[in-house]
Symmetry: C2
Subunit: 374 residues, 2 copies
């Protein structure tokens, strides 16, 4: 692998800070040693802060895997055969989540937004009144469309109409860059991954379960459908590491967790709210220039309310040409993946270092290159 | 994390070579880029060589996870409700595998060896004649007892008596340090993990499926029970990366795979057979000194035939005292985990660098410290 890396501006994996990257280059430690125990303990305690969860209730989980593993945890632990699930779909990642729940036996009702749009809250309200849903899934930011959901508002509606429904948030492309309040908003499970706005290397699934999910997992009613993602297996492990008493179920990814520890410390030292603001500022400025100066059109129909702040999805006439031009100048962005518009837009990620380190000018450079090639 | 690390001599995670460790400290790459594609392609091709599998048939899988994930892949992909499975059990890891299969609905028959012993092949023969088993699991080396199975011989018996039975090998503590021939021995699925004899960082599940498993996964009969470990999902991804056409199901762990790539290159440059020999030599010398000079007794009852070469499990009067003495001198070993003898023995890992780098003297140092404290 060359050390002269391209500037990576895809919506994850993202550029690592030098501190986070160097934190990978450490010797292996025993997974049950006090030394690693202290690292993992701090990581879990900071994961609580990252999700803005209760200091004591609920449980964070950090498991070798990816964002995809988070969907599996939901399906394998919370879905019984023929349980009803409501999926609010704003792109392909919402659809994948639905597919995962169906594999575990869920009857999935989907509320599918038009491309670039959100689902009107009125429709969600209606559905919740019609049927008892075991859970509802909200893809906070769907990375295929860069559409941002108003999770706070939808969660309030769910808690009002159907308080027993578990509120599940896919925060893969939102945690660390979008406002998110696990406790205040009454979320039941939120999943994310290491390689996006947390600015850590890919390879870890990071999630948080509410106390009522924890209580369910500890109850007689609970029956996991998978071994590796059984929360019953992971609960004592994560409780153990968080309490300073390491336990074994599967060998944790020592170096990746050490790097995540560094990434979470950077985020919390910077201030979580300050990070949200930095991402929003960079995103808004970039989107404004692309639309106003270059006359381009965002995939998100209502940028002010429902455009993600960690990436930009924007229509261009010739995506291939734009991507190639940027690549020729050492900048890597992503193409479209939403099937109906896949060949018509590009995606630029601006999470982590790119949005938060004032010494880098990746997005201005990217903008200049897009303006040359669009 | 201190850079003045202890000498880590547990049976995984193991000490990384400086090249393997440094290979973690690299910038993120796009998971679908040609640059990462080339790294992952080479990794998969070398994984084939590692397992001594066919050059074209069957399929290697490298997935963010751990050894535990490998059991899940077997259960979720190969077990239908009420399928019969035969588990040859030589320790707690064999038992965990059985537990995983049961979660997926298998009726498990166990042939449990006495502590430190193997299961007589006659008993395996009898069982296979009694019933049709969907699969048999063989824990090549059970890390709890350091007992080594004669996989070659057992596989031959299975293919003779019950050729339709899938032969599954847990090679977590054997691949890279014990003789293993996927193709010649007619294995159907072998799972391992990155952090043991491969000398790579923890965080990756590495496995190989035979062509008949691949054909089954592609057939109409196949129905996965898990989303994240569905081989139907992973098959096109791994085929894609191996063919040079990256595809997406879950974001791969870029840096971990780059490090595994370095580790596999080191193994293959050294020569796989040469590595087996080095592990065997170090193991035999260490065990001989412990038994003959110090008068200690191995957990493995028949060292010549069935003692693992990647770790040593040996009885000592006061394991706590020995472990503390070594730790005080900067050497970390492991305690017992086989319940019936847990407080009576210690485990010393000698995989990877420790066995193969002639410039290090970790095991002689460890031996000296044990001799002082035993």
């Amino acid at each position: 692998m060359s050390t002269e890396a391209d500037t990576l501006l895809i919506p994850g994996p993202v550029i690592l800070s030098s501190k986070v990257q160097r934190a990978l280059d450490v010797p292996s430690l025993s997974h049950t040693s006090p030394e690693f125990g202290a690292i993992f303990q701090r990581t879990l305690k900071n994961t609580r802060k990252l999700f803005k969860a209760d200091e004591k209730e609920g449980q964070p989980f950090v498991i070798a895997g990816s964002g995809t593993l988070g969907w599996d945890i939901v399906g394998a632990n919370l879905i019984d055969n023929n349980d009803s699930a409501l999926v609010v779909s704003t792109g392909v990642f919402s659809e994948f989540f639905a597919e995962c729940l169906e594999l575990y036996g869920a009857n999935v009702d989907k509320l599918t937004a038009e491309v670039g749009d959100v689902v009107p809250t009125e429709k969600i309200r209606e559905k919740l009144k019609e049927k008892n849903y075991k859970l509802i899934t909200l893809t906070h930011v769907d990375t295929s469309t860069a559409v941002l959901l108003n999770v706070k508002e939808i969660a309030e509606i769910v808690r009002q109409i159907s308080p027993e429904t578990y509120i599940i948030v896919d925060g893969v492309c939102s945690i660390g860059c979008e406002e998110f309040e696990f406790k205040k908003w009454g979320i039941d499970y939120c999943l994310t991954a290491s390689q996006k706005a947390l600015g850590a290397p890919a390879g870890l699934s990071i999630s948080f379960a509410s106390q009522r999910v924890v209580d369910f997992v500890k109850s007689d009613k609970y029956k996991p459908k998978s071994y590796f993602t059984s929360l019953k297996k992971w609960l004592p492990i994560m409780e153990g590491y968080e309490n300073g008493t390491p336990k074994y179920f599967a060998t944790p990814a020592i170096q990746s967790i050490n790097s995540l520890d560094a990434a979470l410390q950077e985020i919390l030292e910077d201030g979580l709210e300050a990070r949200w603001t930095k991402h929003a500022k960079m995103s808004t400025e970039f989107k404004d220039k692309l639309t106003k100066e270059l006359g381009l059109k965002l995939v998100s129909k209502y940028p002010a309310e429902s455009a993600a702040h960690g990436l930009t999805a924007i229509y261009v006439d010739e995506p291939g040409k734009v991507i190639s031009h940027l690549k020729a100048h050492g900048v890597v962005i992503a193409g479209g993946i939403m099937p109906s518009i896949a060949t018509k837009y590009i995606r630029v990620g601006h999470m982590g270092v790119t949005a938060c380190d004032p010494s880098v000018d990746y997005i201005p450079t990217c903008y200049k290159l897009i303006s040359e090639a669009k």
